[in-house]
């Protein structure tokens, strides 16, 4: 069977991440050149969506980790 090994090389993973960072920088820059027409005032603030997306993700993971302490059970819990 033919095997792909593209991500076995660390340099390829690094390249992919650099692509992501460059694209993100592009998005931050693009924010200044678009015509905004949001339903809410904060939608028109600079880089609102970037900040909200990043923050939400961190909050989500932090809360999920707290939640795990309360709801985690062994796999045979119901058996």
């Amino acid at each position: 069977m033919r095997e792909l090994k593209i991500f076995d090389k660390a340099v390829n993973v690094k390249r992919l991440l650099i692509c992501l960072y460059v694209f993100l920088a592009g998005l931050l820059a693009a924010d200044f050149f678009i015509h905004k027409h949001g339903h809410f005032s904060w939608e028109n603030a600079s880089e609102f969506y970037a900040a909200y997306g990043f923050l939400c993700y961190l909050v989500l993971i932090a809360l999920a980790k707290v939640l795990r302490r309360f709801i985690k059970r062994p796999e045979d819990y119901y058996d």
Partner: protein, 590 residues
């Protein structure tokens, strides 16, 4: 005339035929049937067909309007894709069950009266159970049992609601209802259970991951989305749904982050997506309803695609837990690519289908200035990119190398995924054909600079957070564990209830045995036997005392009296005396 033929009847007849056909012909038949139904539906003008009177009620088996038509289209499209995916499964039980199940969903969508709806509703519940049972594992059997019990309960709620509605003089025709009576609340709860609205949701995440790899594809499409259709039809604009929907988008994403089984992650993600639809139905404006319907259409395709990718992985590797998987892209590149198309679609990346549909619901919330709801929906969007956009493909196909070297699945499964992926991209790039078949005229442009950049920022800065968290080791590790959810109440609670009832009722039983059967009955019996003797003694002993009969002679007389009563051999005088005493006692007591 044949153009108005209800596809449900076609599917039900097909289900009866399937076991009789030879294997080769059966495969062609299962593909041809939904395609033929699709062709018929396309050539059927809007209107009412197959309507007749029954016991003073007007039964309508086919009522085609703009709302029911778009749902019927997508149910038929996903039937074609689903049966292509399941083509090589050699199990007539699954094929027949899937046909009845799809037929039930089409019936619910296209019928015009509550009676037919209820019958189709139960067809769906029973047939879908067999798609879980057909996995033939102990876990699947147990999950199927819980699944059918919950759905029978939901069906009863719906049935009670319909009966109350009709008894109160309500119409038999399905139409808009207001949440102002017991009847409409019962109907609402019946639909809500099938839509998996919390806390009526855990059947979904309990049962879908236990279904067969191909059965889960059908399950992901029909039950919840036919409930979305019916909710749209009956409770559009019901404000309670705005909040219920928004909570439903957020609540499951935390579970999806923590869950280990990929199909369970997808199940939670399914609820999250249906949450957007419920919210849209609650908002109830034309934009929101259009958004809801188009989102249901897109969702069925990308969710089926994700379940097909997961099903392919299970078929080829026999595993479904993130902890057991990883690095599969090396030998399953096509499945990995199709999975990522599904992930991009559900995450609503521009050029993918979720982008052109979900944004209508979020915009509708914005237009109504529902500030909190808007923030909740955007938060949930970030949650989607985490679990469905990144987690499922990352931990399955990339991440740590599990060492598994399984190949892509057989051609029919690959093609089914490919077709669904083409739909996801096609709708994302050219949304107009979908917009044209929505219930209301569409005045909405998804591709504006602000929207595209805003959405990409929201999603990709979320992705950036993922990169930082995974490299810092703070991202919650995949662990072999389960997470408690509301099904605890009927799984553990059910057992506790059983024990309580077992202990309670059996204690009462034992006490009854001891006190009533052996105690009281014996006492009554003894009393009936001995009362005359005792009473006679009560009278005679003082008399004998007066005549100075004491000690041994007194004891002898007492025994003689007892023996006499026991044998019924008494001097007439004593018997008469006892009777007289009895009469006096009765007289005094009366």
């Amino acid at each position: 005339m044949i153009s108005g033929l209800p596809p449900a009847l076609l599917f039900l007849a097909g289900a009866a035929l399937v076991p009789l056909l030879p294997q080769r012909f059966k495969q062609a038949f299962m593909l041809a049937l939904p395609l033929f139904a699709l062709y018929l539906l396309y050539n059927t003008p809007l209107g009412t067909y197959w309507s007749f009177s029954f016991l003073d009620y007007q039964i309508v088996l086919m009522k085609l309007d703009r709302l029911s038509r778009v749902f019927a289209y997508i149910f038929l499209i996903i039937s074609v894709i689903g049966f292509l995916f399941a083509l090589k499964v050699e199990d007539d039980l699954q094929h027949s069950a899937a046909l009845i199940y799809a037929g039930g969903a089409l019936g619910v969508t296209l019928c015009g009266d509550w009676f037919s709806l209820y019958v189709y509703w139960e067809f769906m519940a029973v047939a879908s159970t067999f798609l879980i049972l057909a996995r033939r594992t102990p876990a699947a059997r147990a999950a199927a049992l819980r699944y059918i019990l919950v759905h029978l309960f939901g069906g009863l709620l719906l049935f009670a609601g319909i009966m109350l509605l009709l008894a109160g003089g309500g119409p038999i025709a399905i139409g808009a209802l207001k949440l102002d009576s017991a009847a409409s609340w019962l109907i609402f709860l019946g639909i809500a259970l099938n839509a998996a609205i919390p806390p009526l949701h855990p059947w979904l995440k309990d049962a879908y991951p236990e279904a067969t790899p191909t059965g889960a594809v059908f399950l992901s499409a029909f039950t919840t989305k036919s409930a979305v259709y019916l909710m749209c039809r009956t409770f559009a604009g019901a404000e309670v749904l705005i909040w219920v929907g928004a909570i439903m988008t957020i609540f499951p994403i935390f579970y999806a982050v923590l869950e280990n089984d990929i199909r369970r992650v997808l199940s939670y993600s399914l609820m999250n997506q249906v949450g957007y639809m419920m919210c849209g139905i609650g908002i109830g404006t034309t934009l929101a309803i259009n958004g809801t319907v188009s989102h249901a259409f897109c969702h069925i395709l990308y969710k089926a695609l994700l379940f097909m990718a997961a099903g392919s992985v299970i078929t080829m590797t026999g595993r479904s837990r993130c902890t057991d998987l990883g690095g599969l892209y090396k030998t399953m590149p096509l499945t990995a690519v199709f999975c990522m198309v599904g992930s991009a679609s559900i995450s609503a990346f521009p050029l993918f289908s979720g982008f052109v549909s979900k944004s209508m619901i979020v915009s509708a919330a914005g237009l109504q200035h529902l500030t909190t709801i808007w923030f909740m929906l955007q938060f949930a969007s970030v949650g989607v990119i985490d679990h469905a956009g990144i987690k499922v493909p990352y931990f399955t196909f990339f991440g740590h190398d599990s060492g598994i070297r399984a190949s892509d699945p057989p051609w029919n499964m690959t093609w089914a995924m490919g077709i669904a992926a083409v739909f996801c991209l096609g709708i994302g790039i050219f949304p107009q054909p979908l917009y044209n078949i929505l219930p209301f005229a569409v005045d909405y442009a998804p591709y504006t600079g602000a929207h595209v950049v805003g959405q990409l920022q929201l999603l990709l800065f979320g992705a950036l957070a993922f990169v930082l968290l995974i490299y810092s080791g703070y991202y919650p590790a995949e662990i072999r564990a389960i997470n408690l959810d509301f099904d605890w109440f009927y799984r553990k609670g059910g057992r506790a209830f059983y024990r309580l009832v077992d202990w309670g009722l059996n204690s009462i039983n034992a006490a009854s045995d001891r006190w009533l059967v052996n105690g009281a009955t014996g006492a009554v019996n003894r009393f009936a036997r001995q009362a005359p003797a005792v009473m006679s003694k009560l009278v005679l002993v003082p008399v004998w005392w007066m005549f100075k009969v004491r000690g041994w002679p007194l004891e002898q007389r007492k025994r003689a009296l007892e023996r006499g009563f026991a044998r019924g051999a008494l001097p007439v005088g004593v018997g008469a005396l006892a009777a007289a005493v009895m009469l006096i006692v009765l007289y005094l007591l009366a």
